[in-house]
């Protein structure tokens, strides 16, 4: 039996997972292998050190804080779940509403016919440009129209 397998058996022995036959094989090997004996001694020492630390008591505040966390958790979880549905639905509704309003505005402001140049010009001259603005300069340089506005 090679030492690699023996160390696996030692590990099982520490874990209480070595059967009787395995134990006999292990002892037989250990009787003639100082390296594996040392490994077992050190592993036992390590296990002993590990187990020498006793459990600590959790702080008294832990239990109430856990109970409070799950009381809040589901409530927020419900709101979160609701928002996950409501927000996309509201966004979709807003988009549909926007398209609908856009359609109505288009119908209200669009020219009655493509050939009606007057309607287009009337839309162009609706606003009064502030004195000195680019619109005012352009209207003045084009002559006529700007003066009529003022």
């Amino acid at each position: 039996m090679d030492c690699r397998n023996v160390r696996r058996m030692v590990s099982r022995e520490l874990d209480g997972a070595l059967d009787g036959a395995g134990r006999a094989d292990l002892e037989s090997h250990l009787a003639s292998c100082a390296g594996c004996r040392r490994f077992r001694d050190l592993s036992l020492a390590g296990l002993s050190i590990h187990r020498s630390v006793r459990e600590a008591d959790p702080p008294l505040s832990l239990l109430p804080s856990i109970l409070a966390a799950v009381e809040v958790g589901p409530r927020w979880g419900w709101i979160h779940g609701w928002l996950r549905v409501a927000v996309p639905a509201a966004a979709a509704a807003a988009a549909v509403f926007g398209v609908w309003i856009g359609g109505l505005m288009h119908e209200s402001y669009a020219p009655a016919s493509a050939g009606n140049q007057t309607d287009v010009l009337e839309l162009t001259y609706l606003g009064e440009y502030p004195p000195g603005s680019l619109g005012d300069i352009l209207m003045t340089s084009n002559g006529g129209g700007g003066d009529e506005q003022r």
Binding site: S43, H50, E55, P58
Partner: protein, 184 residues
């Protein structure tokens, strides 16, 4: 006394008393598991809280065929791995520090205790150092085995590994520790 599976079924059904009973039964186990791995009481407290919140929320998915202990430690292992990954530069605590922070070193020792016969305090120091140098998964596996007393199968289920992988991890961890403990 209610068994754990029954408690989980009642928690899934919305019984808050059942959850309280489960927390009272396992909070010390969870807290000490995290305290050993992190060495920090505040972290251990936070992680224990996260653990129970996760158990509460996943109660509906718990299947009674699996032992509750494996279910409990699977969540605990995942939380530990995540926490240790975030804080990988932080050294593991010494046992002295852990005692200062709440652990109670066992007062009953036998004269044939290898920890004492092989050099006492120096051995402890080397053991702590060896433990802190182990890869994250190895430490968790060792803690699940030694402190949690889980079987290889339960550790495998908790860590999402095969049984042979778990056994190999434990052997390698012990070899690494033995090398560090060996002063020759």
């Amino acid at each position: 006394m209610d068994d754990d599976a029954d408690l989980m079924r009642r928690i899934a059904g919305g019984e808050s008393n059942a959850f309280r009973t489960l927390v009272e039964r396992y909070e010390k186990t969870g807290y000490n598991f995290f305290l050993r791995l992190t060495g920090n009481p505040e972290d251990a407290e936070d992680l224990t809280q996260e653990l129970f919140v996760a158990i509460f929320r996943s109660a509906g998915r718990y299947r009674a065929e699996a032992p509750f202990k494996a279910f409990f430690y699977r969540i605990a292992s995942n939380l530990s791995a995540s926490h240790l990954r975030k804080r990988k530069l932080r050294a593991a605590p010494s046992i002295d520090e852990m005692v200062e922070r709440g652990f109670d070193a066992a007062s009953t020792r036998h004269e044939d205790d290898p920890a004492l016969s092989l050099g006492g305090r120096e051995m402890r120091r080397r053991y702590e150092e060896a433990l802190s140098d182990l890869p994250r998964d190895w430490r968790i596996a060792l803690e699940l085995r030694v402190t949690g007393e889980l079987t290889y199968e339960e550790i495998a289920a908790a860590m999402g590994k095969s049984v042979s992988a778990v056994e190999s991890i434990l052997v390698r961890a012990r070899e690494r520790i033995a090398e560090k403990l060996d002063d020759r």
